[in-house]
Amino acid sequence: MSNTRRALFRSAWLPWALVLPQLLIIFVFFYWPTGEALYWAFTLEQPWGGGNAWVGWQNFAAVFSSEGYWHSVRISILYAASTTALAIGAALLLAMFVDREVKGSRGYRLAMIWPYAIAAPAIGIIFRFVFDPRSGVFAFLNQAAPGLWDPTLNGDHAMTMLVLAGAWQLVSYNFVFLLAGLQSIPRGLVEAAAMDGAGPLRRMRDLQAPLLAPTLFFLVIINMTDSFTHSFALVDVMTGGGPARSTDLMVYKIYSDGFKGLDYSGAAAQSIVLMLLVVGMTFLQFRFVERKLHYK
């Protein structure tokens, strides 16, 4: 917080009154639930009533010793990494070429932005239809030889479908940031490089891409966190975690263990792990973006 402002208002009660609504809401719906998750993670509800008993790290030990959990962690990382790579790669390519400002680039710009508005359940259902083994685009493969493409039976196919839908959703978000980043590069720099004989592709590789490093790093973190947390809707409408748990991502597993299995303590322990993961990545973002990746 900067303390350089001198012209400030003073009042003993007014600032409190102004922040009170926000503080109340975040206390009830943010801090309390987070605290309660911690409490559940270290306690276990007694089967015959009588409240929760303290069990220490037992819930975590149970979670970490379960093969299903590690499977879920592995596929979550796989999902997050592939979605991020695909979404950022595609967006970078599109942004760089839109930034060349050929005729109609304004139109292209609008055309790249709208997918952000599409809800995850809607696009999830659409992708599920498009990749449906009986009526989708690849259905003809199954007529030739059954099972060539079947995300309802083949886990790899299901994961591919999920990654494509996830990346489709993130492309426009990344595009907005990358284009803003590209346009903040001083025109003079690009022109100077052109005078020195660097062609457009050379400039993209050696000038624009390095200057975009902070934006790219920021987007990697945001895309990863987003894939870890917001993938719930896609999984739920597209695969329901199946086939055979092959798309049972961490956030979906918390939901199914907590609400379907009614194992609050196990779900809470998993929530804590996911929270630490997300907080860790956010922290990394603040440290690096502020310190290392500035070229100014």
């Binding site: 409190w16 009830v28 943010f30 060349r100 239809f129 259905a139 457009p200 809470a268």
Partner: protein
């Protein structure tokens, strides 16, 4: 453009066109399916040109998913979240930036930390709180022993309860409980020259007057930006409404859409499902296309 490169320009158009095609293709296929009858939507190989059944399918989707009522619910939730964020965040940021008070830094961090943990990772306990929103206060009373004290003094056992399941407050409030907006306003308020505050004070304006007559008009673009982002965010919510609305007649469009697809092995009536999917994604799409400028500004500003 820096130099003339006709060949590269052609390549640019090809590449951008291809990118566009990839983005549009799923929507196009959904649209085609929504214009077919059941047989047409399930035809192998897939049909690529529209059929004559669009209106029938839209009507069927509308009645089957009770979309009229669902649209009302979603609209109230989206507008509620939007208004809540735009309003509360502005008040909080105003207090944090323009007042000189001791707890300022602590309050700022308390609010700021909420940016780190999305609703999804604390979903189970948040649901339990929504089942009784006064649970935190009851627990505090129990732990501090106040419940027992009151009981011995007055003979009344304190049992606070406010069920939020299946209510608009339950749908809206937890979605408002993050700092996105507060942070956006804070960044903007920090850029306001302090001469403006001095001048306002010189003219005898108190803090609330300053908020209403100086900050509010200056913040209009930021408010529009935040409002578009929040509308889209709230309309597209899925996990939270799915949990909070246990009664089908209280749910939002997104939850209802997912219910159109049968669980298990039954073949969905894709033509009707696709018609419903296209219908429910229209409002946020319209907001983004019509408010493109504010939307892009809000997107960039809420994350920095």
């Amino acid at each position: 453009m820096v130099e003339r490169r006709p060949l590269l320009n052609l390549a640019t158009h090809l590449l951008l066109g291809f990118g566009l095609l990839c983005l549009l293709l799923p929507i196009w296929l959904a649209f085609i399916a929504a214009t077919q009858d059941v047989a047409g939507a399930n035809a192998v190989p897939m049909r690529w040109l529209p059929g004559p059944h669009l209106l029938d399918n839209l009507a069927a989707a509308w009645t089957r998913a009770d979309l009229g009522a669902r649209f009302t619910t979603s609209m109230i939730v989206a507008l509620g979240v939007m208004a809540g964020k735009v309003g509360l965040a502005m008040l909080a940021a105003f207090a944090i930036v323009f007042f000189d008070w001791r707890a300022k830094a602590v309050v700022f961090w308390l609010v700021f930390v909420t940016l780190m943990l999305p609703l999804e990772v604390r979903i189970v306990p948040t649901y339990v709180v929504a089942a009784n929103a006064l649970r935190p206060f009851q627990a505090i009373l129990d732990i501090t022993g106040l419940t027992g004290l009151v009981e011995t003094l007055s003979g009344v056992r304190v049992a606070l309860e406010w069920r939020m399941l299946n209510s608009y407050t339950g749908l809206i409030l937890p979605l408002v409980a993050t700092a996105t907006g507060t942070f956006l306003y804070r960044q903007f308020f920090m850029t306001i020259p302090e001469e403006l505050v001095e001048a306002a004070r010189m003219d005898g304006a108190g803090p609330l007057r300053f908020l209403r007559d100086v900050l509010l008009p200056l913040s209009r673009t930021n408010m529009a930006a935040l409002a578009t982002i929040m509308f889209v965010y709230a309309w597209n919510q899925y996990l939270w409404p799915l949990l909070v609305t246990t009664e089908p007649q209280r749910s939002t469009v997104m939850v209802e859409l997912s219910r159109l697809v049968p669980r298990g092995d039954g073949l969905p009536e894709w033509n009707i499902v696709m018609a419903a999917a296209l219908t429910v994604m229209l409002p946020p799409l319209a907001v983004v296309v019509l408010m493109q400028r504010w939307f892009v500004r809000g997107l960039v500003a809420t994350e920095k």
